[in-house]
């Protein structure tokens, strides 16, 4: 029974730390986890220490150096390592500052949708019956909206701003967690250790939180990681359309929109924000895949 309590907070039962350690060892053997994790960590450090790392203020306009090429080009200068955009703003600095909004939205929105979706999945999957059917119906209803349409409607209703974008992502994407986690809860609920806990007279709360939840945590970590990538794309999309944040805050989506306006004269300005988005999202996807591959076989072995 305790062998299932993966990732639950330590010490009360013996034998559990070794399970957590086993999981960590498996994670450490996955190159995807390393690559994804290191990229994300680096991006987070860049975001946190942006004011110390970025060579310029992301909003400073140098009108004498508009659309300057990157430093390795023949007439590039080392003052602007990645060149400047149409208003003479340093592309590198803007990219570094853009990571702040992207990662803030990614982490908070992924937490939010995980909390909302998994809670409902746990309740529905564990209790079944009318609760489950009701939650399922709402998920189906929600999923019959194309996600971007739903988030646009929500943003019209909520107004713009980073907090509103986070809220919109949570309100759109909780269904993803709900549907997948519920399926896992349904399987776990019928396993022997859950029945044993129920026979021992544990309360529903305790059974749900101490027995069922730890068993679905690996899946939740995978989904969390993938959801971060989704949130980054949604934020970039919304700020590209101009619905996300006021212009005084730099985002990758805004950089895309600016670069699009200058596309005819300097198509290469586009590449920096595009690369930022792709690399970060790829890191999230790799991390999620790695976690799934590392922790899933364990689950399957236990069932067998």
């Amino acid at each position: 029974m305790s062998a299932i309590d993966l990732g639950a907070s330590s010490d009360t039962r013996s034998g559990r730390p070794s399970v957590v350690r086993g999981a960590l060892v498996r994670l450490a053997r996955q190159p995807r986890v390393w690559v994804g994790g290191v990229i994300l960590l680096a991006a987070m450090l860049l975001a946190v220490f942006a004011p110390h790392i970025a060579p310029h203020d992301p909003l400073d306009q140098d009108l004498l150096h508009m659309l300057a090429p990157p430093m390795w080009a023949p007439d590039g200068s080392s003052a602007f390592p990645l060149g400047t955009d149409g208003l003479g703003r340093c592309v590198l600095s803007r990219a570094i500052y853009g990571a702040r909004v992207a990662l803030t939205v990614a982490v908070i929105a992924a937490w939010g949708s995980m909390l909302l979706g998994s809670t409902l999945a746990l309740l529905g999957g564990y209790f079944g019956g009318i609760v489950d059917r009701l939650i399922n119906y709402v998920v189906d209803l929600w999923m019959s909206f194309p996600p971007v349409v739903l988030s646009l409607i929500l943003l019209v209703g909520l107004g713009t701003g980073v907090d509103k974008v986070v809220l919109a992502v949570v309100l759109v994407d909780w269904t993803r967690f709900c549907r997948v986690v519920r399926a896992d809860v349904l399987v776990t609920r019928r396993r022997d250790f859950v029945l044993a806990a129920q026979l021992l007279g544990f309360s529903h709360w305790r059974t749900m939180l101490r027995e069922v939840l730890p068993a679905v945590i690996p899946l939740m970590i995978t989904l969390f990681s993938i959801e971060m990538g989704v949130a980054i794309i949604v934020e970039a999309t919304l700020s590209f359309i101009g619905l996300s944040v006021p212009p005084a805050i730099t985002t990758w989506g805004q950089m895309l929109a600016d670069a699009r306006n200058d596309m005819q004269s300097a198509p290469c300005v586009l590449l920096t924000p595009v690369a930022c988005i792709i690399v970060t999202v790829l890191a999230c996807n790799l991390l999620g895949d790695g976690v799934r591959v590392a922790l899933d076989p364990r689950l399957r072995q236990r069932v067998a």
């Binding site: 019959s144 909206f145 194309p146 996600p147 971007v148 349409v149 409607i153 990538g229 792709i278």
Partner: protein
């Protein structure tokens, strides 16, 4: 067969009615909590509060929200979705003009996605058989990290600006007039015999269609690959091998055929994704479809238009579910007995 299909359609349509009602309710109430005044733009700067109140009354925004909903719903059932605040045209007219364009683009995108992902999925499957799946996994993970709207920008930068070989704005060149029979440019221009125009419409579809397809393809490749792996482990494959069929015949006639089913279901589920992607692709390519209309409506707080488009998207999604269910029944012999 016909009976089964009609049974599925009837059951699905009946189930869809309460869903549609609830969805329009959700949209309506979300839009009514909005902090900005949708009427602000309609009034001249010199308008008095009395003018504003009069306009509000004229448009029905002064009534309680539940009453507004009932009025809107009744009109919608009768085919009247109201008048756009910004375009000053009936919402249904605007949508009917834009809908075929979106469908044309989505279908082209879907077709290109299949052309990319069927060989791609089979390649990934062969790499898996030769224990080289890491390469395929990385390629798919990379493709999955590039959404359609980034592809649009990259494709424009490459094939529109850097090497200007393809057009990237609108549906047809300025010299072509769309006849407007069915609303599908490729069909209309062919029917009226405008061959030059047809080529123009086709080239205008290449880049946006490709952007959509490249966003959708990794999802299809993933499912196709895992369905191929699953089908390859079925006993009938071993039987076919024992019968002495060639490996390529086994792959094409047995494995691929059986792997098609989950893939088709997946594509149906991903239509929401396709529409979402089409919305941005249309905006970026200045393509006059529903998505572009939606972005304009959202930017202008054009409530009747947003409501109408949201409703149309929901109807489309539900209609696709019906089509997929029917396809599933037709293709899967196990489903034919009710």
């Amino acid at each position: 067969m016909f009976q089964i299909i009609s049974a599925i359609v009837v059951r699905r349509v009946l189930l869809a009615i309460p869903t549609l009602l609830l969805l329009s309710l959700v949209v309506f109430f979300v839009l009514r909590i909005l902090p900005v005044d949708p009427l602000g733009m309609l009034l001249p700067a010199s308008a008095t509060p009395a003018d504003a109140a009069a306009l509000k009354q004229q448009l029905g925004f002064d009534k309680p929200i539940p009453q507004q909903f009932v009025i809107w719903l009744w009109a919608a059932i009768n085919g009247n979705l109201g008048t756009s605040l910004n375009f000053r045209q009936p919402v249904s007219h605007l949508m009917m003009a834009a809908l075929p364009a979106t469908m044309e683009l989505s279908l082209v995108g879907l077709l290109l996605a299949l052309l990319i992902s069927i060989p791609g999925g089979m390649l990934a499957f062969m790499l898996y058989q030769r224990k080289r799946e890491a390469v395929a996994d990385l390629a798919v993970a990379l493709m999955q990290s590039i959404p359609s709207f980034l592809w649009s920008l990259l494709l424009i930068a490459a094939f529109g600006v850097r090497w200007p070989i393809l057009p990237f704005s609108g549906r047809v060149g300025p010299e072509v007039a769309l006849p407007g029979l069915t609303g599908f440019a490729l069909i209309d221009l062919l029917l009226t015999g405008q061959f030059q125009g047809w080529i123009s419409a086709l080239t205008h579809l290449v880049l946006p269609g490709l952007a959509l397809a490249l966003g959708l393809a990794p999802l299809v490749i993933r499912v196709l690959r895992s369905s191929l792996i699953e089908a390859a482990n079925e006993p009938y494959v071993e039987v076919a091998r024992l019968r002495g069929l060639s490996e390529s015949r086994i792959l094409w006639r047995h494995i691929l055929k059986n792997a098609a089913l989950p893939t088709i279901t997946m594509i149906g589920v991903q239509f929401g994704f396709l529409f979402s992607a089409a919305l941005l692709v249309e905006m970026i390519f200045g393509y006059p479809g529903i998505g572009n209309l939606m972005v304009q409506a959202v930017k202008g707080n054009d409530l009747p238009l947003i409501q109408g488009i949201a409703l149309i998207f929901c109807v489309l999604m539900l209609a696709i579910t019906v089509v997929i269910d029917v396809l599933y029944a037709v293709l899967n012999p196990r489903m034919r007995k009710l």
